[in-house]
Symmetry: C2
Subunit: 258 residues, 2 copies
DNA sequence: TTAATAGTGTCTCTGAGACACTATCGT
DNA sequence: ACGATAGTGTCTCAGAGACACTATTAA
C-alpha cells in the first residue's frame, strides 16, 4: 500500500512530544475495623500509598521526596498504559489476576515539574490477604494503607491529591452501580458481609437496615442463593450463603425497574 | 523546596518517550429521517467523519490517505487533551459550547504506523443546526455524516474502527443512563421528541410505547412539566412541553427505585 | 435465659404494564 | 366525520418500605 511511501516522508520530530508517559494505580483494599466471632464484620476502605525516598536509585535527590504518592511508573514503548499498570502492580505488591480498571487521564500542563508527563490513572481491588507481602521498592521508603476518609490530609506528591479524590469517587460509584463488590468478598458470602462492604461507601437506609437488606438480596438479579448452604461465621444462627452470578446489568434512567 | 535541586539532576531523556499525543473526537448529531407537519420526528443518530486527503499540506503523500477518520490532531504542550479536542472541534466545525466528554485512551503499540502515538478519544454532541458550516480542512477532502448503523462498513484509518465502535457504545449508554439526551433537544420539548431521541439507540418497549412513555415522563425526577405551556409542532392536538432539571441521579444496583 | 444476628408476616403505597377509552385539532 | 397524536381510567401485579414479630444458636 502507499502508506509505505508516505511513511518515508513522515518526520516524527515535527511535533513537540511529551516528556513521559506513565501509569498510576490506586490500590484499594478493605480491612476489618474489628473482627469478632459470631459477628458480622465492620469494615473500612483503604488505599495503598508509597512514601517517595529522599534519593533515587543512583543516590541523587528525588523529586517530591518524602511525600506520599500512588504507586506507578513509566510506560514502556512496547506496552499499553493498562499493561504497564498491571506489571507495576505485580512488581510493587506481588499481586496478579486482580480487578484493574483505567479511570482517567491526567495531563494538565505543569502537573509534573519534570516536564510534559501524562499519567493514566487506574484503580485496583485487592483482597486483604493478597496484600500481605507488600514491600518498599527502589524509590519508596514505605508502603502504607490509609483510610479513604483521611488520605487527603497527607502531603501528597504531584497532582495525586486530585487523582486520589477521583479514584475514591470512582470506586464508590463502582461499588454501588456495578458488581465489583464481589472482588472484596469470598466466593460465597452472607447478606451482612456484602452489606458491610457497601457500608464503607454509603449510609443509605435501604442498605443499612438489616431486615430490608436481608430481603432485598433475594430479589437482586445478579445474586443467587446457594441452596441449603449456610455458615456461622457471622452469627450463632446459621446464615444463608449467596454468590454473584453473571448477568447483564442495565440501568437506564427511563426505567424504574432494572 | 528541595525539588529544585532534584530537578537540576533530572534527565528527561532517560526514558523513551511517545512520538505523539493526539485527541480524536467522535462528533454525534441527530438528523430527522423524515419531518412532516403535525408529526413527531423520526430520527437517526449520525457520526461525523473526515476523508483523509491523498497528500498533506506540503504536498507529500499522506498516511492512511483516502480513508475515513475521526477529526482530531496533535495536542500542544500547553494544553490538555480535552482542551485540544475542544479547540479542534471549533477549528473543524466552527462549533463551541457543546457537550464534549473524554471516553478512552488508545495506546496499543503499533496502532499508528508513524510511531508511538497515544490518542485520547472524546465524544461530542452537536445539535444539527449548529453543524451547518462544517467544511473540509487542510488534510481532509470531505466531511460527511454517517448513520451509526453502517459507519463500520467504511474503510477507516488507523484503529478508528475500534474507537468508533466504542464511541457508539458509550453514547448509547450515556443517552439511556444520563440526561445527555437534552443536548439533542430544544430547551422545551414534548414527550414524543424525547422518545424519538431515545429510539435511535433502543427498542425497549417501555420507551417505544406511546402511552407508557407519555405517562412515565411525568414521574421522572429529572424532568418537569412546564405548566400550561403547549406546542402543536408534533400533533394537531396541543402537546405538553417539558424541560430537564438538574437533579442528582443515583442508580445504585442495590435499589430498584431511583 | 439472654443476647445477638437472621429472617418472616403483614400492611400500605407506589408504580409498572396492558388495554381500552377519551381529547383535541387540521383537513 | 376522519385521521393522527396526546393523554387518561382502570385493573392487576410486583415490589419497596416500615414495623413488629419469630427463629436459631453459643454461652
Amino acid at each position: 500500500m502507499s502508506n509505505e511511501h508516505a511513511l518515508q516522508q513522515y518526520d516524527v520530530t515535527k511535533y513537540r512530544t511529551p516528556d513521559g508517559y506513565t501509569s498510576d494505580i490506586a490500590v484499594f483494599t478493605i480491612l476489618p475495623v474489628k473482627s469478632e466471632e459470631f459477628r458480622p464484620p465492620v469494615l473500612d476502605l483503604k488505599i495503598m500509598l508509597i512514601k517517595r525516598s529522599m534519593t533515587d536509585s543512583e543516590g541523587r535527590p528525588n523529586i517530591e521526596a518524602g511525600k506520599w504518592a500512588l504507586p506507578g511508573g513509566f510506560v514502556a514503548p512496547n506496552e499499553t498504559a493498562f499493561q504497564s499498570a498491571k506489571r507495576e502492580l505485580r512488581e510493587e505488591t506481588g499481586v496478579d489476576h486482580i480487578h484493574l480498571e483505567h479511570f482517567g487521564v491526567y495531563d494538565t500542563p505543569g502537573r509534573d515539574p519534570r516536564g510534559w508527563i501524562i499519567s493514566n490513572a487506574h484503580f485496583a481491588i485487592v483482597p486483604e490477604h493478597k496484600l500481605s507481602d507488600r514491600r518498599a521498592s527502589d524509590d519508596a521508603t514505605a508502603v502504607e494503607l490509609f483510610s479513604v476518609h483521611d488520605v487527603l490530609q497527607l502531603p501528597l506528591a504531584f497532582d495525586h491529591a486530585e487523582i486520589i479524590q477521583d479514584a475514591v469517587k470512582v470506586i464508590r460509584q463502582k461499588l454501588l452501580e456495578t458488581t465489583v463488590a464481589k472482588e472484596f468478598l469470598p466466593e460465597e458470602f452472607t447478606y451482612s458481609e456484602l452489606q458491610a462492604v457497601l457500608l464503607t461507601v454509603t449510609n443509605d437506609s435501604a442498605i443499612a437496615l438489616e431486615s430490608a437488606f436481608a430481603r432485598k438480596i433475594k430479589t437482586l438479579p445478579f445474586i443467587e442463593e446457594i441452596a441449603g448452604k449456610k455458615t456461622t461465621r457471622t452469627s450463632k444462627r446459621p446464615t444463608q450463603l449467596y454468590r454473584f452470578i453473571d448477568v447483564e446489568i442495565n440501568h437506564s434512567i427511563y426505567h424504574t425497574k432494572m
